[in-house]
Subunit: 301 residues, 2 copies
């Protein structure tokens, strides 16, 4: 899994700080997560083959998380896209995008599907043979979801020589990869673990923005390999978290620790701060393995 | 009058080519004309004091002319703007902006007024003691207006020594500046032109984008000091102008010539072309004084 950060600051776009957007490469998918103003320009700048994006996940309808969406949808039309595009986001997202198409008299020439969300419980919203996406209900000023991206468990690794030596016919190899015990050619039971090993670990990435500190998400994100948790503020402004429903870096660190995450990625920095290393320093009091979101950075999960 | 070009390309924003937006400084006003995605970042980049913008003129509701508007309106809120903001544009612009505010539960803390346009005739839409703004109905795929920005005629320049020598009491100086004849202290008629000169010339700027070649605008823009006329295409693609309702550079030159404009500014270039100097070369067959719109360029009118 590879995560590329496009924008990682809160509120308004500036020359060198961009609102939230990320691209997650997972199995054969390129998922776009949030889409602040200017996202399509950053996709070009970092040479991401954005015609391959088929699924866009919008956390909530504050502008710094979706004002770039309508432009990207229009650009796909101008580039003569033919592939389906699926947009997941809060109820209302379909109306606002289609109203703008109607006013422009410019409908897409590719199939565009909206999947509007309104549940306050975690839901499975996308699934294929290799990947699942679940919502993570967050606690913000308006209806907001994070997203949990999970690889499905891979097949077991077959130890071919051992299986042959145990007299298993190759017609059963597929069953072995799926984890079943099988019979060999003499009719003896061959235990799966004697001729296979664990396959590659299934990875997961939990994206949590925007939210106040809220431990109710822990059961959903527990043991995730990488957790992105917003950290709009440093501790000196912790008094602002309740009214704005944002978090501090230290609070993000506490969530990562309680969730037993493999790695914490911090972002959604308020542009009032000059040195984002301060976010790492403060979160480090609660959690060890920290990455800072930075425009153009790719993080291997 | 000073015109600063922010974006001057058609269709989709790219790393180095931006959709349409311009700032016109005229008397004590800073007018924003169109507002493609990324305009607020360009306003910051070119250090334009954009809190001073009180009037925004949107030509039409294709995304490359207004997708940056909702973000700019939001940013004004985050910057705690208090001044009124007036937005002029086609019917529908109010609905699309207010829908996005409603979904974000984020209303402006400053007075925001929409002036929706639907007339197909030229209208006076703004006027104060120094400036007038008129619409220029254009011929595009959807309802579109250009805008004509006119300084009002300045007062006449009083030749103080001559007026005194003619025996005019200073109580009448203001009448003289307004162009009236007056009586001197002996009761003799003093002709205005004997003691005044023409004041500074009142300037005008006509903004015409997007439009197919259409001479019906000539009476509205005649003798303008500067004409911005879109030139999406070069002649090699002139067959595309009818279906897309855009113009070539040569057609823009013909309009400037027929309108007796002081200067032609070309823009809205299709990004298919590598060298925008070709637009100047082609328009030069019809008109002499040509400027190319370029991001960051300021043109004195």
């Amino acid at each position: 899994m590879e995560l590329t950060i496009l924008g990682c600051h809160s509120a308004t776009p500036r020359v060198n700080t961009h609102p939230t957007s990320q691209v997650l490469q997972i199995k054969n998918h390129l998922f776009l997560i949030d889409c602040g103003e200017g996202t399509q320009v950053l996709l070009r700048k970092y040479k991401i083959k954005f015609s391959k994006i088929k699924h866009i996940f919008i956390s909530h309808l504050h502008g710094d998380h979706y004002f770039g969406l309508v432009g990207l949808i229009s650009t796909f039309r101008l580039l003569s896209r033919e592939n389906e595009l699926h947009v997941y986001g809060p109820k209302g997202i379909k109306e606002v995008i289609t109203l703008q198409m109607k006013l422009a008299d410019s409908w897409t020439n590719y199939p565009l599907y909206f999947h509007e969300l309104s549940s306050k419980k975690s839901e499975l919203i996308f699934e294929d043979d290799k990947v699942e996406v679940h919502t993570i209900p967050l606690n913000h000023r308006i209806y907001t979801n994070g997203y949990l991206f999970k690889e499905k468990p891979a097949e077991r690794k077959l130890l071919v020589e051992k299986a042959k030596a145990a007299g298993v016919h190759k017609a059963y190899f597929s069953k072995l990869k799926q984890g079943y015990d099988v019979e060999n050619e003499k009719g003896e039971l061959i235990k799966n673990e004697s001729v296979t090993q664990d396959g590659p670990k299934a990875r997961s990435y939990a994206y949590c923005s925007d939210t106040v500190y809220d431990t109710s998400i822990i059961p959903i994100i527990r043991n995730t390999d990488a957790l992105y948790h917003e950290s709009t503020f440093l501790e000196e402004h912790s008094h602002l978290t309740k009214s704005t429903k944002h978090s501090t870096a230290l609070e993000a660190g506490k969530i990562a620790s309680q969730a037993n995450a493999g790695m914490l990625i911090l972002g959604h920095f308020s542009s009032r701060y000059n040195d984002i290393e301060d976010f790492r320093r403060e979160a480090a009091a609660a959690f060890d393995t920290i990455e800072l979101a930075e425009t153009g950075k790719t993080i291997i999960i």
